[in-house]
Each structure stands twice: as C-alpha cells, then as structure tokens.
Subunit: 512 residues, 2 copies
C-alpha cells in the first residue's frame, strides 16, 4: 500500500507554511486557562459531596447491564447482586491512583495535538444532533453531506480543537455509518477524531480505519490517543450495554472515553445543585473504575453535563444560573480527585438569536470560570442538541475566539504603556498617527468574523442584516474556499478496499 507522503509529524506544518498569513495571526490551537478557577462550594462541602458519591457507589450501587463489565468490577472486588454492582471506597481509591492526569490527544497533524490535563482549555463543537439547519436550506434531518460540511467547518476554525459528531448522517445505513463518519473526519480534517462507541465491532473497525488510513503501527496507535468517545451513563445509576462496552473497548486500545452522566436536576437527578453533582460524581467514578480495572492507566476524562429542566416546558435548560453553578461545582469535584474533566455549553434556543447567544456565552463563561478542560457543545448547538445550526456555529465561534484572546495577557512593560506617545499627543488630540500606534495597529485588536460595527446608516444601507444573516457568507466562504489538509487527500483511496470489504460483509450494526 502506498504511503501517505505528508503523514504524521510533517504534513500540517508544511501545508500551513505555504499560506499567505494575515498581519494578525493569533494562535488558538493550544490554549491554557488564563483565569483562576472559581468556587461555589466550600472545601468541606465538596468533601461532603464526594463522600455521598462514595456511599452511593458502595451502598446503593450501579446497575450495569453488560455481563463482561460486571465481571471486571467483580475482579476488582466489587460486590455483585444480579445486575447491581456495589463498589467499595478502596476500589475507587485504587482506580483514582492510576487514572491519568495528563493525556496526549493526537491529530494526524501534530500541530493539532492537545495535552488533555488540568489547565488546558479545549473546545468541541455541538455534537450528536439529528438535524441541521441553515438559512439557505432550512432545517432538515442530518445527512452525510451535512456531516462533511460541518466537519469542514470544525476543521476550518482553529478554536475548535477536537472533531465531533456534529450531525448524524441518517442517509447512511446504521451498519455502515461508522465507515462514513471516520472516513470523513480523516479525509477532510486533521484534528483528533471522534469515534462513536456503538458496539465492539464498530469501535474496532473505526480504530482499524485510523491505523490504516494514517499508516500507524499498532504501537503508534496505542501510544497516543487517536480516537475519543463520549460515554453517557443512564442517570440515575445505570450503565447500559453499548456504553459499558465502549468504556472497555476504548480502555483496551488506550483510547479516550469521556464519561458524561447527563444529570438534569429535577428529572434524572436530584433537584439540588449538590445532589445532582453527587449523582454525577458517583456515575463518573463508576466509569473511571471500570476503565482503570480494564487497563490501569488507560485514558478517561472525568466529567458531566448537568443542567436544570425548565419548569414551564420540562425541557433541558442551558446557560442558566443552575447550569453555571453545576459547571463550577463539577470543576471543584474534578480538582478534588485531581483529574482533567469535560463540561458542556449548549443552548435551548431554536435559532441563532439573542437567547441562543446568551445561553451559549453564559455557559462558555461558566466553563471558563470552572476551568473545564474540555467544553463540549461550544458552537452550533440549538434546540438542546436536536439541531446543529450553521449560523449559530459561526456566531459562537466569535465568542470562543474572544475567550481564546483572553489567554494572551497584555504586555505591561514601559514600552507598551508608551509614555512617549502620551507626551506626544496634545490634550484633546488623538493617537492615530503616533509611532506607538503605527507600530501596532495591524495586530493590536481582535478582528471580528461576524460582528458588524458599522453605524445604523451604513448598516441599514447594507440591508439591515442580523448577525444570523451575516453568518451565512462566513460559513459559505469557509466551505467554498475549503483547503483540504494534505493528510486527507489519499485517505479515501487507502480506505476504499477496507470499506468495500466491510460493506460486503454487512458492516456492523450498533449494539443495543
């Protein structure tokens, strides 16, 4: 089989060097949180929540539907009664000892790698959406074309760090869908890849495609994380078959599970912030135990996606005070057990309007104040995840880039303060023409991608467009001028035979 010329460590760098760079080229690729994490609970309260979670695991137990998973728990000393698993404190302690604090996530372009650890600030686009929506084509079920487009959009903006299952390609049969989703990511992007854990066969075939398409040896594959999956527990206190299987399969291959109880306070979780977090913490720890007992040191991210339900509609709410307190509390719990963790932003709004922007902005700030390692659903999520919105995505990118700019502290040196410039300008004058300004004006300020700062007259003459309207040409240009990463060009050819063989063999249906 032909080698990809631009594979692994070299492709990205070379591909990028050829581009003409704008004067201002901020680096949004690897970010560190610039701010001190905030707290909503005292240390004692956090300790209390942690201890209740341990009691939940030991006394109430977790229902685990997969026999193989129960056997692993039993092997670690957990008590098993039918499908209930009771996990003692000592088992938890052991697991927390081996769970890695720092995880190297690989893109085929090493410039896209992420070190997943406390202090890193990583963003992922809205994920898991059955529908997509844009102002040109309306709202419609997700298909492969939309999936390809939204992967391109995720690749286009450096501020999106990990690829995600933005839109479900429902026109591809469920038994073949993983072929299409993995191939799309490898062909059109060079960032760390998302793999759905929908059964062992799909998972292993997905891993094989990554190894094959990127020409990685087994060792190369297992010595870094190339595939990442989100594992949802069925709150309260249940781990279903595909999810438990995913934890085991990813651990065995040293790939990363992101454990995500979806604890909606007042519905699948206690109505209080502290109660919902206790349940989330227990479920996350149960998954960490399973992973560490499968393979000590295997990568797993602590985390959760806790919010409240709206009392009027019963729907999940996002960017609410409760969501933010749950984010900050979850951050405290993650630091309590000293692990990196995922949070989530999102929006309940049905379109990219002021509500949607406020919801996502609040939840992104919440994740920042909580020092979330990963903030998922950071861009493009509408309707509580039922739709991936193109214009919402573009508007959210603007917020994300604003947050990313906060990572660069302003220079407070004497030269930057510029006493000479201050002396040069007369009272009531202006600084436009000072050398201090001339030296810096091209790069001093963030350049917005969708915000329009023109005055009311010009704005009206230009059609009185909302920022939702203005987002259309932004995503259109990103797609029209799309530059395929060099690493992707030969992937379809390399994978063609593998996929054809798999397809002829009936693919692999999702595990129930």
């Amino acid at each position: 089989m032909e080698k990809i010329e631009t594979r692994k460590r070299s492709g990205g760098r070379r591909a990028r060097a050829a581009n003409t760079k704008p004067a201002r080229a901020p680096n949004y690729r690897q970010l560190r949180h610039p701010f001190t994490p905030q707290t909503v609970f005292s240390d004692d309260e956090i300790d209390g929540i942690h201890n209740i979670a341990l009691r939940v695991l030991e006394e109430l137990g977790i229902k685990v539907l997969l026999p193989e998973a129960r056997e692993i728990y039993a092997g670690a000393g957990a008590k098993i009664v039918n499908d209930m698993v009771y996990i003692g404190k000592d088992i938890v302690e052991e697991a927390l000892k081996t769970a890695p604090k720092s995880i190297h996530l690989r893109g085929i372009n090493p410039l896209r790698d992420q070190i997943y650890e406390d202090g890193a600030m990583i963003f992922q686009a809205g994920a898991g959406c059955p529908n997509v929506s844009d102002k040109k084509r309306g709202r419609r079920p997700g298909d492969l074309n939309a999936y390809v487009e939204t992967i391109k959009l995720q690749q286009h903006f450096d501020i999106i760090h990990l690829l995600g299952p933005s839109a479900e390609p429902q026109d591809v049969p469920a038994n073949l869908r993983h072929y299409a989703m993995i191939e799309t990511q490898m062909t059109w992007a060079d960032k760390p890849i998302n793999v759905y854990a929908r059964g062992q066969t799909q998972t292993e075939q997905s891993f094989e495609m990554i190894r094959l398409g990127f020409d990685l040896s087994d060792d190369e594959f297992e010595n870094g994380v190339w595939g990442i999956t989100v594992i949802n527990s069925n709150s309260p206190r249940m781990l279903d078959i595909p999810m438990a299987q995913g934890l085991i399969d990813f651990a065995r291959h040293n790939q990363m599970s992101v454990i995500t109880p979806f604890c909606l306070a007042g519905a699948m979780a206690p109505i209080t912030i502290a109660g919902a977090l206790a349940l989330q913490h227990a479920e996350a720890i149960a998954a960490i135990v399973l992973v560490q007992m499968t393979r000590a040191g295997a990568p797993i991210s602590y985390g959760g996606f806790a919010s409240n339900v709206d009392m009027k509609s019963g729907s999940p709410a996002f960017g609410t005070p409760e969501h933010l307190k749950l984010q900050i509390g979850a951050g405290q719990l993650a630091r309590h057990i000293d692990l990196p963790w995922r949070s989530a932003a999102g929006a309940a709004s049905n379109l990219a309007d002021a509500q949607g922007a406020s919801e996502t902005a609040n939840a992104l700030w919440g994740g920042m104040m909580a020092n979330a390692t990963l903030n998922l659903h950071a861009a493009g999520w509408l309707e509580g995840g039922l739709t991936f919105g193109y214009e919402k995505f573009i508007n959210d990118i603007e917020i994300l880039q604003t947050l990313a700019e906060m990572c660069v502290k302003p220079d407070g040196s004497q030269a930057e303060i510029g006493f000479d410039a201050l002396a040069e300008v007369e009272p009531g004058g202006h600084f436009f023409a000072t050398q201090h300004t001339m030296d810096r004006y091209e790069t001093a300020f963030y350049a917005p991608i969708v915000a329009d700062l023109s005055n009311f007259g010009s704005w009206t003459e230009n059609g009185a467009l909302t920022s939702e309207d203005r987002a259309v040409p932004v995503w259109e240009q990103a797609l029209n001028g799309y530059q395929q990463p060099k690493t992707g060009a030969q992937v379809p050819e390399i994978l063609a035979q593998y996929i054809e063989r798999g397809t002829n063999a009936g693919g692999a249906f999702p595990q129930e």
Copy 2:
C-alpha cells in the same frame, strides 16, 4: 407645603408588602460579587502603570478649561501654566487619603439604597442615548414619553439599581429638560437618581427639586448621596468647563461624581491595554484630586470606559477581548488605590440579535471578573450608545438576572445533597416525585423572562418568534401593569410651583 405621607424610610416596604409574591422571589436589590477578581497584569505591572499615570499628571499635565477648577488645583499646590495643571505625587497622595471607600447611595425607598464600595455589584441601564427603538414604533429620536417609559422599565426590574439617563427627551427644550428628567425619576421611580452635570444652575436646581420633592432638609440631603452624575474627561488629558464644574458642584453638595474617561485605545488613548489604562488612570486621579480638594471626603467613583476601535469601521467596539482586558486591568488599578469603581458593558450591534447579546454578555462577565462596583450600560444599549433598545433591554435583563443568581451559593449540606432521594429512585428512574424534589420544585430554578425553552414544533406553532420578538410583550406588560411607587404620587403636585417659577424665569441652559 404638604408632607408626602409615604416619604423616606417607610414607603417602599409598605408598598411591597401588599403584593402577592410568586413562590420564587429572589432578591436582586443589593448584590455582592460572588467571585474572586481576576487579573491580567502582575502587581509590578500595575505599579508601573500607576507610576506612569503619576508622571503624566506631574510632567505632562492636564488641560483644565474652568478657571475656578484651576484655582482649586493651585490651592492644593499644583503648578499652573496657562490652562495646564501639573499635579505632583504628594497632592495625589493626599487626595487618595480622603476619597471615600464606601459611599451610601440613597433612594427615596431605603430598600433601593446601595452601599457603593469594593465588593458591591451594581448595575445601571444603558445611558445617554439620543435615540430609542422598539419593534412596535421603530427607531426614533428620544422624547419625554420614551424617557418616562424607560425610567419605568428601569424601576420595574430590581436588577437595575441606579436610574440613568436612558433616553434624551429632545422634545423638551434644553433649558427646561432637567426639570422634566428629575421630575420623571422622582415621580415614577424610587431608586437613586441620575443628575446631569450640565452647568451649575441646572445642577443646583436639580438638587433643589430632590430636596423639595422628597421633603429633605439640607442636612438630610447632604448626609447621603441622592444624586449621581457621570463626568467624562475629554481624553486625552483634558477637563472641559461643564465637567470640571460638575465635579466641583457635586463635591460641594456631597453628591457623587462618577469619573469616566472614555479611553478608546488607538484613538483618544494609546493603542495598548497598558497605555490606555495609564491615561484613564491619570485622568481619573486628576478628577479625584479636584473633588477632594473641593471638599475632603466628598463621594467620587474612580472608573473608566475603555475599549478599542474596530479597525474596519473606526467605531468603538464592545465586548471584545480588548474591552474585557481593559475592564480587568481597571479593576486591578482601582484595587491598587483601594477605591470602588465603575466599568461599562454596552454593545455596538444595531439590534437585539446574537451579536448584541454576545457583546453585552461578554462585557457583563468582564465586569464580573473585574469585580466592577458599578457596571453601566448593562442593559438596552445599542449602536455604541446611540440608541436605547427596548427589546435589547429585556434580553439583557435576562443575562443580568443570571449573573445575580450566581450571588447565591448553592447549599452543600447533607440534606440538600439528598442521599435519601438518591436511595429512593431506582436505576434509570426519575426524581420528579421524590419528596426532595416536591419540597423544592417551585423555587429551585431561575424562571426566565424572555427565554423560550419549548421544542421546535411548539415554538414554530407559536409563530417562530425570536427572543427579540418575545421581548415586546415583556416590556409592554411591564409598562401596562406599571405600579407607581408610592413615594412618587405627589411629586408632580409638590414640584409644580417650583418648575413653573423656573420655567417662567427661562429655566437654565446647559453650560458650554
């Protein structure tokens, strides 16, 4: 003259007790910052910026156009050359010693009082707008009707703490406008009052109206702050006649000036964050000196409104990374000299869309991360302040209420965690019917005022309204069901004679 029956300390409380309260009645009236202030500069850098500001004052000087102000500076030992004032470090030191760290702001309803000090979190609506806009009547020049309406809206929502000059009532002649603006605030609201400093006569007449209308003795008036004004320096390094006059007049009557250099980095201020802050700091200190030399201990707020210009349009930008860094840096400088301070939010957007929401949300979070004592232009500001938007105001109130909810830390006690509830619900079940939920569901979650969390189907059936659309009935209901505070009912009658006499005497024109 007749006494107001419900005056001063009693009115508000009685008026409120009669209302039927909803199950959830959060108190947004007096807030304290819940989070640790963040930093963008090191302590050494802040010291460096402070020292450059002192050099600016001593070596470069401030142009002061009002002779009386120059005399006050001279009396304190400043060097005067023509209209330039050079202020030595020792003078600054003296002034900073007497500038109060805690200022009691009075509403006629004591429940509306604010203690203006480090740690307080106070919001004021968008101010100084020549135009107003709403979806029913469109964009139009501000008039008295709009001013009355926007004062009612500011009064209606507890999260707005200080009244502001939201819309300029341009249908009232400039020489009589202060009568209308003060009377409107006193009649329709009971929060601390905004007084424009547009010349000595207007200021003193405004103070007289407050004393008269609220039946305050001179001592009662001067023993608390009843009137608040924003004073803008003419950056760079200039204080014009009305502004200097305002600082003096307010200080003499022990009322509060909020000094606000408007330092647009790259235009009226150096292009760097550190440089713009050095200029802002120098100008703010110059004003503090004038106030303290006029009357030691007189209330003045440190502050600023620094942002950047958009490099495409030349317009001021808001909610940008630079704006946020300037906010956080300004907070560091305020704490460096140990004074409460004002920041500002705002938006450049021409309507209440996603851009406008992101701009304001970012800048409100910036103010929160900077622990701004007062965040001005917190709701309703469009077009960089050229228009007060009704729908923008309502949407911003939602963000503000979300921030306010963060002030209440979640309860982390064992009862709140609810181990019993966790034990009661089977794996995969739900918490709807647990006693733990039943005891709390009416009050557990913030109830949105404009966010719509219904699903896409219901939302479409209901007309597919944006949150801008949905804000219309919210402000309409606030105005239609408006409850005048008891303190206001007799104000027009009490002031009628005073205003008639003043009007017949030609009113008072703004000072040039």
